[in-house]
Subunit: 456 residues, 2 copies
């Protein structure tokens, strides 16, 4: 066994120097985002009040295949990149599967997840353009923790609206953000119009990413020298995350294999896009046969049960209209512990890829996700984030299918983060206190039907 | 700045294949452990009831400089080793110091600390010799978490006595051990004679490592096919941890520097020995000029204020008599959050090195340790374990001294673990709720005087 290599790490000079912009390679480009008042395609200048100009430019860039990573960001990447590609021999053995399972271990980033890849980029561009304050929202807190550190690195003040249920379920994440120097507010809060409105209508509302986005956007719009930042959904976020897959591509070469399947959990799409887009590139440009699988929670199934429609990115309706697979921006997801997956929509790029059958999606229920997470912990030693457990569960399903069929498949999945801050979730699971949350067809119909009036 | 390399990782074929046994190079060997009844030097067979035979052999080995790492253990090391050596440019900049600061990042091990290095070795030897069950104690829970995973890897059942104050302060660590499949008992407990005795005398006793060791030893002695394991203090534990320093030695070469100082926090001595012994080797065998500094908490100052004496390793007096710097085995340390440093003694090897002035020790108070930890988090992105904060504080002191003197010093310290499970401690610190615990000379005198009667 000792001749087998377990872990592949790139030398510092092999770390990617440019991000990959998949839109340049897509035959069917994503539909444009629309100005919600005029219903006309959004111009880049319309994004400037909210985002740093370079980020706005990246958001609408459909032509450049590669966009250079600024030196200052690459300098910071070098502290933790490349992250390791690991062959999961322990998990393979436990499953007694002929499949080869690899995972990209983003959990070793200083803040414990892949979110730092885009946080550093966004903080850098904001600082460069003279911004002094930034706002954001966070679900489970992985994005908030990453941005808190990135803001400190580049000398920005940061206010984070944290979804209330996560604020209560994951108090350590709040502490981490505060330790990095950020201000953390439970959302919905009384500090914004959007927060006050939903609290008035639903006094016990436990929050959602959609509401937290509304609050962060509102604060940014009303504060001078302040920009808004987002940890997922948007094209420029997916762009920054491609550093994951670009590395993995080289590391799979080191391992002498090419994946039959690339799997990642799916909330807004950031870790999914990051790992999969560079492999999708081979499919788009070379016709390579690789399955790309998004694993979403069955309690928030926009890809498997939502509809493709123009919708708002936030609950209050402040954002542009986004063409996407969605459950409706007023959808209130169940309180699963995978807080990062509790988002109603899928982002324009992923939605177009899904529409064009270039990728697929599966849904995983909460109990299956934790069963998978515990098996992974006991065989690979790393306690996965509840979000990442969904990718592991989908991987296990495919590995068992390979066993049944007696075929040797190579599976690559993204371990987007560790779950050390989520131990209350594991406690609850081990105590038998967690449930699945299956949505009836009626519930789905009701939530998506609310979308009809938006485009009228 | 981008030409500077931040992180040094060894290729898999450079990972050490043998541990370094410093005793072989010591001119003054450590005094022997004694049988507490006969007061005669302990024979190796007397350790067999408690420890795996190979571990007992390593414990008393004074001749072999290198001891081969079994293939099965090396195979597991490959999942996370080498750990990175990182140049702390961010911290250097914040301190505006001419010093070059490096840290060995053991926090990226799957379980979050260096403890896995010995846990895997101990579990492996126990399994190999037919043991089915093992016991141990844990303070902050780093050792318990590591052993829980190692026990699962090698198919052993594990019972962990966790110091009660940590069990309450760090419930997530308990959850982690349970997720890996271990049984966790708060100590003192009613399940052992030692536990019942101290609970009867002091009903509100919040536990100590000394008491937890008594309980774990007692359970191992009374259970067939069961061995006891320990995460620090003993020679064989220090031996296994030398993989840290052997790697760091090669990594400092990659960086083109040699440390003027090697610094680590000090509880029982495991992470300290692991990093420093391979550098001490250069001092012992080549007369190399390198300062070796142990950073202990001022509330548990055995090296700076204890006495060198034969003492028990545990509170109840079950262990052999160990020649060491100690505060007395009945010393009850204050409830600092650095639970892994709350131990009364220093281990025979380190105590002998201290006596021979081959190393030095400093004490750090709790508030200084957390101030250092927060500066490190904000500049390097990693929230350090409260234990590791002591090493960081000592490093900062030396870096500021270098600045004052205008000399360029190279400092290497051990980041023994991350503090993500210790966020309640950071919360309390940020809220101003933590204190220092300074011991008066009278308190010290009282506790060490209790030792006089042991050897009579």
């Amino acid at each position: 066994m000792s001749t087998k290599i377990k872990r592949f790490i790139l030398p510092e000079n092999e770390i990617p120097t440019a991000w990959y912009n998949i839109v340049a390679d897509m035959k069917n480009k994503p539909l444009p985002m629309l100005n919600p008042t005029t219903k006309q395609p959004l111009k880049v200048e319309e994004l400037y009040p909210l985002f740093a100009e370079e980020l706005a430019g990246q958001e609408l860039n459909q032509t450049d295949r590669y966009i250079e990573i600024p030196e200052e960001v690459r300098d910071m990447y070098k502290y933790y990149r490349s992250t390791p590609l690991v062959r999961a021999y322990g998990l393979e053995k436990a499953l007694d599967t002929p499949a080869h399972i690899y995972f990209k271990n983003e959990s070793v980033s200083p803040v414990g997840s892949h979110k730092l890849n885009s946080a550093l980029a966004q903080a850098y561009y904001c600082k460069k353009e003279g911004t002094t304050n930034i706002t954001t929202e966070t679900g489970a807190g992985q994005w908030g923790a990453a941005l808190s550190y990135a803001a400190k690195v580049f000398g920005l003040e940061l206010a984070v609206y944290m979804v209330k249920i996560s604020y209560e379920q994951k108090p350590y994440r709040r502490s981490i953000m505060q330790t990095f120097g950020a201000q953390v507010i439970a959302s919905p809060s009384m500090s914004t119009h959007a927060g006050r409105k939903i609290l008035t209508e639903h006094p016990n509302y436990q929050g959602s990413l959609g509401t937290a986005i509304s609050e962060a956007v509102e604060l940014a719009m009303q504060t001078p020298d302040c920009k808004y930042t987002l940890g997922s959904v948007l094209n420029h976020v997916f762009l920054h995350q491609t550093v994951i897959g670009l590395e993995a591509e080289k590391q799979m070469e080191m391992a002498g294999e090419y994946p039959d399947m690339v799997i990642a959990c799916f909330g807004g799409g950031s870790n999914f896009s990051g790992l999969s887009f560079p492999f999708l590139r081979h499919k788009l440009t070379e016709g390579k046969n690789v399955r790309i699988i998004a694993a979403e929670p069955s309690s928030c199934p926009k890809l498997t049960r939502g509809i493709f429609e123009y919708d708002f990115g936030d609950e209050a309706g402040y954002t542009p209209l986004i063409p996407m697979f969605t459950l409706g921006h007023t959808f209130s997801p169940a309180h699963i512990h995978a807080g990062g997956l509790r988002y109603h929509g899928a982002g324009t790029i992923v939605s177009q890829l899904m529409k064009d059958n270039l990728m697929e999606a599966v849904d995983i229920n909460q109990l299956d996700s934790f069963n998978a997470g515990i098996l992974f912990a006991q065989t690979e030693g790393i306690i996965p984030a509840p979000e990442s457990c969904h990718a592991i569960a989908a991987t296990i399903n495919e590995a068992l299918k390979a066993k049944e069929e007696g075929t040797q498949k190579t599976i690559l999945f993204n371990l987007s983060g560790h779950g050390l801050i989520d131990m209350t979730a594991y406690d609850a699971f081990l105590a038998g206190d967690l449930s699945n949350y299956e949505l009836s067809n009626e519930e789905i119909a009701k939530t998506v039907n609310s979308l009809e009036k938006i485009m009228q």
